[in-house]
């Protein structure tokens, strides 16, 4: 099973990567909203926001913007999966002698590749706007690793949404709360400026530990316990979403 799983997943990933390359607008629209939010916060609100970091506000908020990019990018996975289901090509794949879960893995790997490109685009704009970091190669790799893990976890949620959707709109609706989740975290303003219950939620939701880890890596500070909390959250969400997606997938056979 393992050898055909790898080759089948490779062939199917090649197919959906080709879709992405043929409609680069999917990557550009993924990056446009986070870039607009970044411009808005840096040039409009930024002057009024006090962070205790002492560094430029752009450096402070970039990690949250990157997470927002991925949260909006995974919606395209749900969309592409839904189109496959609607068009009948999904059934064709299922009636062929291929490793069954490779159909899902191909979409997931494509999502990771497409989102890393969108993230690179956003970082490019941030550099033009004056983002600077002294992060070492190791720190950059750690950031890339965290973002890849974040993409994997959210993409499996997208797979659940795509498998269960009844319409194109429904397939991507799950991503809206995810896109706004960074606002109620340490991504844009320090959590201690928020009223009690909101601050409690912001401090304890997964995005804060992820944002704080990436921020520490960018400024070259020790990451400490935040990274462990972030990784624990990511692994739990990933395992859970993966299990639910595979169950939903199997249930389609009745």
């Amino acid at each position: 099973m393992s050898t055909t799983f790898l080759t089948d997943t490779g062939v199917l990933t090649g197919r959906s990567l080709r879709h992405v390359v043929r409609s680069p607008d999917t990557i550009i629209t993924t990056a446009v909203t986070p870039i607009a939010v970044m411009l808005l916060f840096v040039y409009v609100f930024g002057g009024a926001i006090l962070t205790n970091a002492g560094s430029p506000y752009l450096d402070y908020m970039l990690p949250g913007i990157l997470l927002m990019t991925i949260a909006s990018g995974v919606a395209y996975t749900a969309y592409r999966l839904f189109l496959d289901l609607q068009g009948g090509i999904f059934e064709r794949f299922q009636s062929m002698p291929i490793a069954r879960s490779s159909v899902l893995w191909a979409h997931v790997l494509t999502s990771v590749a497409a989102n890393l490109v969108a993230v690179a685009l956003v970082i490019g704009v941030a550099l033009l706007m004056g983002f600077r970091t002294g992060a070492s190669v190791g720190a950059w790799l750690a950031v890339a690793g965290i973002l890849a893990l974040f993409t994997l976890a959210l993409t499996w949620i997208a797979v659940i949404a795509g498998l269960g959707a009844k319409s194109v709109e429904g397939a991507s609706a799950f991503s809206y709360p995810l896109i706004f989740l960074p606002f109620v975290s340490s991504a844009f303003v320090p959590t201690d400026s928020m009223p009690g219950p909101v601050a409690w939620f912001a401090e304890n939701q997964p995005l804060t530990s992820i944002v704080d880890s990436i921020r520490a890596l960018f400024v070259g500070q020790p990451v400490g316990g935040d990274l462990l909390t972030a990784l624990a959250w990511l692994v739990v969400v990933l395992v859970l979403a993966n299990a639910l997606a595979l169950t939903a997938y199997r249930r389609r056979r009745q």
């Binding site: 055909t4 080759t7 089948d8 062939v11 199917l12 197919r15 080709r18 879709h19 043929r22 409609s23 068009g87 009948g88 090509i89 059934e91 064709r92 794949f93 299922q94 009636s95 062929m96 002698p97 291929i98 056979r253 009745q254």
Partner: protein, 263 residues
């Protein structure tokens, strides 16, 4: 039935049952299809034709009963069944964002055919799609999409081909092309089980016709056998009027046979 008769069967189903949310769609279907023959599964909308095809192609599990396809059990030897069959569903299962050639190469790779490109080119030629091969499949006409769809089903020469309503929604010309394709398939030794709601389609193509009604197969036999059920025939003299289809095909001046390409 003796063992050697069974060995000659490409499809053999016994007592297949399936319910969806309390709706008893299939109520004990028995069906034998001889290897290399064309059998039409005839029934009205909602009779359960698609459900039966989905069970035989391992996409849906039956609630009760057994089915063998190409000698393999659909419940316990799913992968071996999937290696022996191909399914062409009601809606053309093509990737609209890939070209016709890329669609064929994709399926050829997934079926682990030795030379995917040569296989794709060969099928494009057989289905008169060579010129359109480089264009996006999303730009194809209905008939071309259906031809590509069936071509994709023939990659790797599966022993049994399921065609679920292969001509629904097609214009008369494209319909004739599909019929021609199906005939050539059977000439080459492939077993074809096709579902249809068109009586003339079953009449044109099938060696044997199975009538699926209210969850069971109520009649199964050759066209002549089915016609004999209504004997004696009353002889009536009527003026032969050309059907609208005859007129249409005469006007556009294209017979299905000339357009079918060399398969």
């Amino acid at each position: 039935m003796s063992a050697e008769q069974r060995a000659d069967l490409a499809i053999s189903a016994r007592g297949i049952e399936k319910s969806f949310k309390g709706l008893h769609v299939l109520r004990g279907v028995d069906l034998d299809v001889r290897a290399g023959s064309i059998v039409a599964l005839l029934g009205s909308n909602g009779a359960g034709k698609t459900t039966l095809v989905r069970i035989l192609s391992t996409l849906t599990a039956a609630d009760a009963g057994t089915a063998m396809v190409n000698g393999f059990d659909v419940a316990s030897e799913g992968r071996a069944v999937r290696s022996s069959i191909s399914l062409t569903g009601q809606y053309a299962a093509i990737d609209e964002r890939l070209s016709g050639r890329e669609n064929l190469v994709l399926v050829a790779r997934l079926r682990h055919v030795p030379d995917p490109r040569a296989t794709a080119d060969d099928l494009l030629r057989r289905f008169a799609l060579s010129e359109a091969g480089g264009r996006k499949a999303g730009e194809y006409s209905g008939g071309m999409r259906r031809r590509l769809d069936i071509a994709m089903s023939l990659v790797g020469d599966p022993a049994v081909v399921f065609l679920d309503e292969p001509t629904t929604g097609l214009d008369p010309q494209s319909r004739g092309e599909v019929w021609e394709t199906v005939r050539r398939l059977a000439d080459g030794g492939t077993t074809v089980l096709l579902t249809t709601q068109y009586l003339d389609e079953a009449e044109q193509l099938a060696e044997r016709i199975a009538v699926l009604h209210e969850g069971t197969i109520i009649q199964y036999g050759t066209l002549a056998e089915l016609k004999r059920l209504l004997l004696p025939t009353e002889v009536e003299y009527v003026e032969k009027q050309p059907s609208l289809e005859d007129v249409f095909l005469a006007l556009v001046g294209s017979g299905a046979t000339t357009r079918g390409g060399s398969l």
